[in-house]
Symmetry: C2
Subunit: 350 residues, 2 copies
DNA sequence: AAAAATTTCGTGTACGGTAACGGAATTGTG
DNA sequence: CACAATTCCGTTACCGTACACGAAATTTTT
């Protein structure tokens, strides 16, 4: 815990009879060193347990490495804004260590805007990239390019299967669906459940809710095989339509008592719910958006499964920092992060 | 987000026509500067929005500040071990920035050992102190001394009321008791509830569970005024006695269906519970100790309220770092941190 | 074996700030 | 007015590392 008299680069130089310049070349293996000297330096480094002084290093480096973050434009109060908080927090941490962060935004409903952002990002030649892969093919192009230039990249939120990413930080999607079902606290097997789903956005090409739904359905068939689960589909931008859908659904199935939603938009059905109290027992959704939290506080929503996009993205940035600056690979490649259950009684301090 | 061309001390020197030595004296108001020069420098500093480079500063200062942490000795797997993790994590963060952390341990059942640790701590003349005040009077002596030497200190876990602490990081105790009651998910007002409490340790002089219990009782009387709540007291080191207590309690009150405990020791009653299944519906405790988590995974414990002592202590260290190195006071003095609900379905990734 | 090419290495300076030291400017005293 | 005492300020040497540049050592070529 206590760092006593740390050895410096000069100590190593003295002990090896070489100069600090040479030691520095070894440390950054940037060549121009004979094998003999190299080995000697490495030996002494290991013996002394030398660790470079990050302060001095960052100071001397001067021109700071830059971590680029690719993130959709978003309305205030959306899921991505939570991530944005994490980015600011992380860059406050790594900023004083001489690392910049730069945002590249794109329109999440426009594949060409994503392309465009990718090009801008690549042109800027960052030292590392954080990306939530929304557009499969587009992301693949991006990552292929990054690999060819050996720029490290980290996924968060959604993972994409390629073998080049440095790390992934996200939710265990299947478990989260399972947990969601558990939080409905269904009491008898005759219950009827409604899943509110988003009309598939034809542009979004990777969708974590699919796996969440799988976890949910498995829980149901394991615990309440006789439960009826039905779905409706809504358009996030057409509130009137949404209300109509709900209205006619509940006319058709008035026995429905539980509602779940696997994305962050549970707030979309809140207005309708608050005009029609009574029969609904439990409503469970995802993510601690402000709108969701408010509904939770009022009791309209019973529980939220909160992933922490801010933590996820912060971890992603941290991982890149460790890799770029300190040369350390993350311990695990796939990092499934914890999720929390929020109720009206524990949201106050979020 | 991007740090563009920050002004340096040399820029100020040039613009004022003075030397960086003088500017430095102004920055640390260490005198030997004429009023005229002082004002000129201050004006330019404000105009440029100059902020000293923390890196270079720490590097040049050389002697690293040291943060002392006062913490009880503990068995592996206890509450305090969680805190210890946070300390290592935090010191990994601030370590490369030239700040040391040093632990001072004491025996939590021995007030004089606490005293002793305090003296050792004071002798070491740290730059800042983190402490969880277990012994009221002892802590007051400590903090009085710290104040007189103007060494900043931060509380975590428990707060003590004096007006000198830099910050506090801990749980909203009252709310946590309230939440605990909610998590019992009592279904009918005729339920009978058992609180398992620790025989008051005569040495420990500040006890967060008192307030938790208050929150719990308030929830109960608000929601289920007819519920019967009874208590038993156990000795954490006498397992046989504990089992006997439980045994005779349940003989006397076989209708009891819910159990809660307000400290981290719910694992103490797990062995008995697992030998007597059946009537107990829900068991709720605090803190994610390994033993508790295991019981949670097996379903013996229904839910745990997890505070995050690691995060709390990490924040505490961070706050001291910000204050000592960067000269920034924490935004809030009292920081009530979030608590999470853990169930068997979301503990996997903790 | 001398010259050229290449590899290997040491030196010097910069990064932004700290603080000791001593010289110049100002003020005070006889 | 000369001299001492203060006050003020510039110079300089660091802190530990990065990197450019050129010199030295080694290898290759002729």
């Amino acid at each position: 815990m206590i760092q006593s008299e740390k050895p410096t680069i000069m100590d190593i130089a003295r002990l090896t009879g070489l100069s600090k310049g040479t030691v520095d070349r070894v440390l950054h293996n940037r060549g121009e060193v004979s094998k003999k000297s190299y080995d000697k330096v490495m030996a002494v480094i290991k013996e002394l347990g030398y660790e470079p002084n990050a302060l001095a290093s960052a100071l001397a480096r001067g021109v700071s490495p830059r971590i680029a973050v690719l993130i959709p434009e978003h309305e205030p109060g959306s899921f991505w804004e939570l991530a944005l908080n994490g980015i600011s927090k992380a860059s406050e941490t790594v900023g004083p260590l001489g690392v910049e962060t730069q945002l590249f935004k794109y329109n999440s409903r426009d594949a060409s805007s994503f392309q465009d952002a990718c090009f801008r990002l690549l042109d800027s030649a960052p030292s590392g990239v954080v990306v939530a892969p929304m557009f499969g093919p587009g992301t693949q192009m991006l990552t292929a390019d990054l690999r060819s230039r050996s720029i490290p990249y980290v996924f968060f939120d959604t993972k994409q299967d390629d073998d080049g990413y440095l790390a992934y930080y996200g939710l265990p999607e299947y478990r989260s669906g399972y947990l969601c079902a558990d939080q409905l606290t269904i009491d008898k097997s005759a219950s009827e459940v409604l899943l509110v789903r988003i009309k598939r956005d034809p542009f979004r090409q990777s969708d974590p809710t699919v796996i969440r739904r799988a976890g949910f359905m498995d829980y149901m068939s394991e615990h309440y095989p006789d439960c009826v689960v039905r779905s409706i589909f809504i358009d996030p931008r057409d509130h009137e339509r949404t209300d109509q859908e709900l209205e006619s659904f509940f006319e058709a199935f008035p026995g429905t008592t539980h509602i779940a939603m696997f994305n962050s938009r549970i707030y979309l059905i809140v207005p309708w719910l608050e005009r029609h109290p009574a029969q609904i027992k439990r409503v469970v959704g995802f993510d601690n958006l402000t709108a969701n939290m408010n509904a939770l506080a009022r009791g309209t929503v019973s529980a939220l499964i909160a992933q922490h996009p801010d933590e996820q993205v912060a971890m992603a940035i941290q991982a890149l920092f460790d890799y770029i600056v300190l040369g350390k690979k993350p311990m695990r490649r796939d990092n499934f992060m914890h999720m929390d259950i929020l109720t009206r009684y524990n949201i106050e301090y979020y």
